[in-house]
């Protein structure tokens, strides 16, 4: 098995208006790596994550994730790919009518797992994110940090090999953001490759790792934060 989990080769995304959102992006990510995608607003961070999550299709180049070519991924197979990759959204995207437990268990329900297995895994993951005692609560009764923990729990419950997070601390205060980042590191230490899109330099300095910097849809730097 290749050490590269993700390989982007001259990837570009051009809209119908001929404007490029991303242009000639090339980089590799190793298994178990922790990386930041950074850049100013409009640099293409979210678009890049969307490409990695098969929410968009590259118009140029190719993307290999776990030896799977996303450019040739059939529309009807996207849902299977998404079961293997976790995504944490800035706005959490929790279902307000479901409890914390039901939100977290949803990816397993989709996979038609047995109730006992679902229960075992949900309880384990809720303990990991520190929300074991809030299982029966509804998302709107939780703080922003707690909601983000629920979103993270949901994204990792399917044991993804790749976890993508789009500005996961964008709506959180500094202390809560730090807690969430610690959680991502903990998940990474358990073997999951983590890619976080953020423009929070302070956090990147506090939790240094590889940084891929974008500007106007191009990679302008690829370095380790500690080198800066």
């Amino acid at each position: 098995m290749s050490a590269n989990l993700v390989r982007l080769n001259r990837v570009g995304l051009r809209y119908a208006t001929d404007r490029y959102a991303l242009q000639s992006i090339s980089f590799d990510l190793q298994r178990g790596e922790f990386a930041y995608i950074t850049g100013n607003n409009g640099a293409g961070k979210t678009t890049l994550l969307k490409l990695l999550f098969a929410m968009e299709k590259a118009s140029e180049g190719n993307i290999l994730v776990n030896n799977k070519d996303l450019s040739s991924l059939a529309k009807g197979k996207v849902f299977q790919y998404r079961r293997e990759v976790g995504f944490v959204f800035q706005d959490f995207k929790l279902l307000p009518d479901l409890t914390v437990y039901d939100n977290v268990s949803l990816p397993l329900e989709i996979r038609k797992m047995t109730p006992s297995e679902v229960d075992y895994r949900v309880r384990g993951v809720l303990s990991l994110v520190g929300l074991a005692d809030r299982a029966r609560d509804y998302p709107l009764t939780l703080s922003g940090g707690e909601q983000q923990r629920v979103a993270i729990a949901r994204s990792i419950i399917g044991k993804p090999f790749l976890l993508l997070a789009d500005e996961p601390t964008g709506n959180l205060d500094a202390d809560t953001a730090r807690e969430i980042m610690s959680l991502f590191l903990e998940i990474n230490e358990m073997g999951t490759t983590v890619v976080i899109a953020t423009h929070d330099k302070a956090l990147m300095e506090e939790f240094p790792s590889r940084v891929i910097e974008l500007n106007k849809g191009r990679v302008i730097a690829d370095r380790r934060m500690m080198d800066v």
């Binding site: 529309k75 998404r82 949901r154």
Partner: protein, 296 residues
């Protein structure tokens, strides 16, 4: 989504958006009352027609001085014709007697003698015989050498058949319009619900839900709405039937010969349920197909 989970989600949506569901069910109910009303009218029209329609009969006026073997041979030939189920010979004396008995005391004064009347053979044909077939029988019998003239009182039959066909045609057209119109309305109501759940669908899609998982609640909702709408519609139709029955027994019983108003047959009740569920499912699936391009 497992089917029970899908059902649970559907019920939770009924709790979340009761008014949208009530409007959808009401639309189905109205449509089914119109369609069921047509079924009710048609069934009773058929039964009434069957009850009030006299036997279809024809009369063959015979030439003079036929012998008994000739009459017997004619009877046998007539009975061998398709759709003729009974024949009876009436001599001119019998004819005069019947006429006198029909006219009562008025007949005994000025009625001419039996010499003016011919012997006749009356033929009864099956009720389902079409006007065209009666014309064929008429043609055949009139060509018999011993028959002077044939008369079938079949005008009412062709009128009845025409009306029956018109009712069927109009009913089918109304049903078509109602089903298409209501499916369109339901699709719009479901569209409103879908819009409100679009965020939810997007989320489950992003965490790896397949089409069946997303479609399952809509299927359940369609089934629940269709069955609910049909049940309410059947209740309303039962009320209408009881009202009409009491109206008939009170005012028109003499006119309709003591006819008892019937409710829908088992097949028609099943048809109302099937149409109700189909309309609801059509609405749901149409909306789903409309949005699936954006979702997947």
């Amino acid at each position: 989504m497992s089917k029970y989970k899908g059902l649970r989600y559907s019920f939770s949506d009924f709790k979340r958006q009761p008014w949208l569901h009530i409007v959808s069910i009401s639309t189905i109910t109205i449509a089914l009352v119109i369609i069921g009303g047509f079924f009710l009218c048609y069934r009773n029209f058929e039964k009434l027609a069957e009850k009030t329609s006299p036997q279809i009969t024809g009369t063959a006026y015979l030439k003079e001085a036929l012998t008994t073997p000739q009459i017997q041979a004619l009877r046998e030939r007539l009975l061998s014709l398709e759709n003729v189920q009974r024949v009876s010979f009436k001599s001119k004396d019998n004819v005069v007697e019947e006429l006198q008995s029909f006219l009562g005391s008025a007949g005994s004064i000025g009625l001419p003698g039996s010499e003016l009347f011919p012997d006749i053979i009356e033929m009864e044909v099956k009720k389902e015989t079409s006007p065209e077939k009666i014309q064929i029988i008429k043609g055949i019998v009139s060509r018999f050498p011993v028959v002077a003239e044939v008369d079938f009182s079949d005008d009412w039959l062709s009128q009845y058949k025409k009306i029956s066909q018109i009712i069927k045609l109009v009913g089918l057209i109304i049903m078509g319009f109602v089903i298409v119109g209501c499916s369109f309305l339901i699709a719009n109501f479901m569209g409103m619900r879908h819009q409100s759940r679009r965020n939810e669908i997007e989320i489950v899609n992003l965490i790896g839900a397949d089409r069946n998982f997303i479609l399952a609640p809509y299927i359940w909702e369609g089934i629940i709405e269709g069955i609910s709408g049909a049940t309410v519609a059947l209740g309303i139709l039962l009320f209408i039937k009881l009202f009409l029955a009491s109206l008939i027994s009170g005012h028109w019983s003499t006119f309709l010969g003591g006819y008892t108003w019937s409710y829908l047959s088992v097949t028609q009740v099943m048809a109302v349920y099937v149409i109700g569920v189909t309309m609801a499912l059509l609405g749901g699936v149409t909306v789903f197909l409309r949005f699936q391009e954006d979702t997947f």
